[in-house]
Amino acid sequence: MKALLTAFLLAIFTTGAQAVDITALLAKAKETTKKKPSPHELMAPYWCAEPGWHTEFQLRNNLLTSDLTVTPVLRLSTGQEFKLSPVTIPAATVTTVDVMTELNKVAPQLVHQTGTYGSVSFQYSSISTANLYAVAMVHMDGQPIGYHIDAASIGKKSVGGSREGIWWLPRQGVYDYLVISNGSDKAITGTLSIYDAAGKETKSTVKLGTHQTVRVVVSQLVSSANLTGSYGGIRFSVPNSAREINSVHFLYDPNAGFSAMMKMFHFDGTSKLEERMWAGNTKWTQWAPMLALKNPDPIVGFPQGTVLQPMVFLRNTITQSVNVNVSIGWHGDSGQGKANVPVITLQPLETRKLDIGSMQQQLGIPNTAHWGLVTVTTGVTPDDVIAVAASYDATGRYGAQTPFSDQLADHWTGGLWQVDSTHNSIIAVTNGGNQPTDALLTFFYNGGKDKYEIQKTIAPGDQLWLNLADYIHNSTPDKNGKVFPTTLTSGTYELRDLKPDKTLSGSLFEGKIIVDKTWGHLTYGCMTCCGYGSLRIMDPNPLVLPITTNGFTTPVVQDNCSGAQFDYNFITAWVSGNPNIIWVDPPGGMQTGLGGGAAGVGGSGDLDSGDGVDPGFTGGHPNACPRQVQDSGGTTNVLAITSISPAFGAIGTTVPVTITGSGFSAGALTVSAGDGIVVSIDPKNISDGQISVLFIIDSSTTSGSRDVSVTVAGQKSNTVTFQVVCAVPTNFSTVSEVNLPEGSLSFQYTFSSSTGITNDIAACTVGETVFYPGSSGIFVWPLPMVSQTQNPFVRSSNATNVFIPDRNFPPTSYQQPYMSAHFSSTQRFWFICPCYQNGALTNFVPDLTIDRRVFQDSDNLWKYQIDKSGYTNIVTLPNQ
């Protein structure tokens, strides 16, 4: 039976695990209070306020309900710091900081001076690093040149690794910068390697003091090293501190109005393939969601006749050759389709440029196609191949980029979107998994107070495209029938996969392009994946589990972005700290109470983990959500009654009762003792293994068994039996008898309570009735005995008097002449208990006969004799 129950519960559990209802989980979520705020930091590797440049920070507070106060700290390339005014950001909103304005307040001498650039640290106290999403937007004044530079966390656990990138010099007149920033508070020495397309390397040592930034021109390095070609590879390797380094490589041509961002990647040699594969994919895969094909989409507003040159750069970062599969899922006016590029073999450290534009016809991509989803798949190790996509016209004036990412996730938060007379935002959400999934895009506006939700099912490999201007201007209703205000111009957004897997890894990623109609320019924006952190506690904690019953605890998990806390079972390997007390099903987590006591119960499992810098993580990658092993645990108290003492109590009494067992102090406690018993509990008398209570047994209740149970934290224990008894006087017996000289028989009787407890018969009455001959009234003793006695004679008292003297006197006197006389009386000992025989009088023992007589003895003397219960006393009458 137990096995069947187990199988049934496991079936439920397993089914639930395969179809995580994140909507239901989040519906009950609230911002956690389980975790105390601690200092956190994000670093953007570059800001610039040199002549001709300006920078703006976009700071998004991802928290569910709380404000977030962020202090931007500007660092010059020398590492010198300038702390800007703190910025308080309401929940789910974006605040922008104009660096020129703020720098003018703290260091006006630096504004628009050569050398006024460096990295920026965003410092805040919060529950998780991912509560902040920060971007540095660096623009050239009066030019369609701008860069979106994501801030990333600073690794606290130093590991070796590198920053990997691709350099590109498309034409003469294009400038470039490679910026490397040290986010740590220690000096770092690294090796900068520049490769040509074939992998030929030139390298130099780069020293970075605390918080320093180095800005180099790659084209000069290429030239001075006599490397040839227009593209190749970049590597900045650091033996021990790779995660404390961030870098960015960008191009610009002010004459042509060209700018491009050559995204760089973090390479961690310890990164495992299984940590970074998502949604059923079996190979290392990267996606670029919005590659603009040759024929640009009219909605981007490029001049008619603009022809783009879409290209994808691939670089092999390892020293073995790698086979690369590239596919392009295209869509445009005439429909959509998918094209596969023939397998590419990259030689060690090779960089290759794929001219997608030239290949379009060969690949069967029609000229009416506007956009392509580029998928790059290899099969060796993460980051073995990096990719950068770009699509510009021949002049570089018009074009767009779409960054590659390997990350699929279930929750992404984005920065600012803009829709106004000069801007539009186009968003593409891609399902990178192999199952259909439901995507929920939520747009926040009006200071985060209002939201607009779009929910769509996306097939595997398919995309959801959104032209936000259309949604706003056409008053398109959202899933709840709500429409955007037509005057709305900006806000923030987030994306959720409503069908994540057991690890809460989703299958979605997103791309965004902001169209700047003033410049005919597109900039891309990024979202950050959020991940989840185990709070390492269980709900409930402690679990109170009645012995022999089954129960579950659920780990409490935090959404690292919003701080939303909810119960979610990610554990796949459960263990019990004491299998003799708690048995736990290793995969399913069902617990069974086996013995009295408490035991720790917990386990571990994979969870989409966030960027890995929060306490409790041992690995991770800046701005990534690796699937990592996390753990959680709690305490389970087995609720059991092992004994009750005493196990009985008398009607009408108050009985101190001790209940022994376990699990009694694990929560609010009540004791049930059945009909007719009120239980009085003093909280001071509760310990985990024992409860001392009073059972107040009603005087009108009936005798019989009662089931006693303890309920703790809503869980009811096993029951033990308590007998309610009707206590009666019993064992009436003669203790002693003494003959007194004047002729009395002096008895001492005793009796006891049927429960052994004298007070249990406090409601009873004991007594005697002596019946004399003749009718009731006065009995006159026969002469020569002189006495008068009430007939019958009755005396009684409370039954707690268990020691009873009883003296049978001789007559008061004797009257001469003496003569023979005799009479007998009957003595009855009885009791009355309200709970016994409906309160009827009950004989203790059979009636006794008291025999008295006067007789002339053989010595001729007149004598008095009394007999009772075999005892005899004889005395000689006086005056003979």
């Binding site: 009430q790 008292s797 707690t800 008097n801 003297p805 009883d806 003296r807 006197f809």
Partner: protein, 118 residues
């Protein structure tokens, strides 16, 4: 004849009791009343808080019949028709018999019954 005798004694006692209450100096007209007055006077010296031993040092003796430790019947030695019921707080040092250290908690009025002989 015997009923008449009892009636006479009871009448004397009641008159004596009334006289005792109304005037200490009023002369009794009946010798039996003197006994009743003696019993009353003696009982007035028995106080709550005294021990059983102190009580039994007076002329009040244990009555006949069944007796109870917590509620004990005494009769006046010189006239056993005069009875009094005394409640005791039990001496915890003694369990199963009357203790001389049982303490008086309540004393009834003196009352008249045929002497309990059991």
């Amino acid at each position: 004849m015997k009923k008449f005798t009892l009636l006479f004694v009871l009448t004397c006692i009641l008159i004596g009791l009334a006289g005792s209450l109304n005037s200490q100096n009023r002369a009794s007209t009946c010798s039996s009343c003197d006994v009743a007055q003696q019993a009353l006077d003696e009982l007035q010296h028995v106080k709550v808080g005294m021990t059983r031993k102190q009580l039994e040092q007076t002329n009040f003796i244990l009555a006949g019949g069944m007796l109870f430790r917590g509620h004990t019947n005494y009769m006046y030695r010189n006239c056993q028709y005069l009875n009094v019921d005394v409640d005791f707080s039990l001496d915890p040092a003694v369990e199963r018999e009357f203790s001389p250290n049982d303490t008086i908690t309540k004393i009834s009025r003196l009352y008249v019954i045929y002497p309990p002989r059991d």
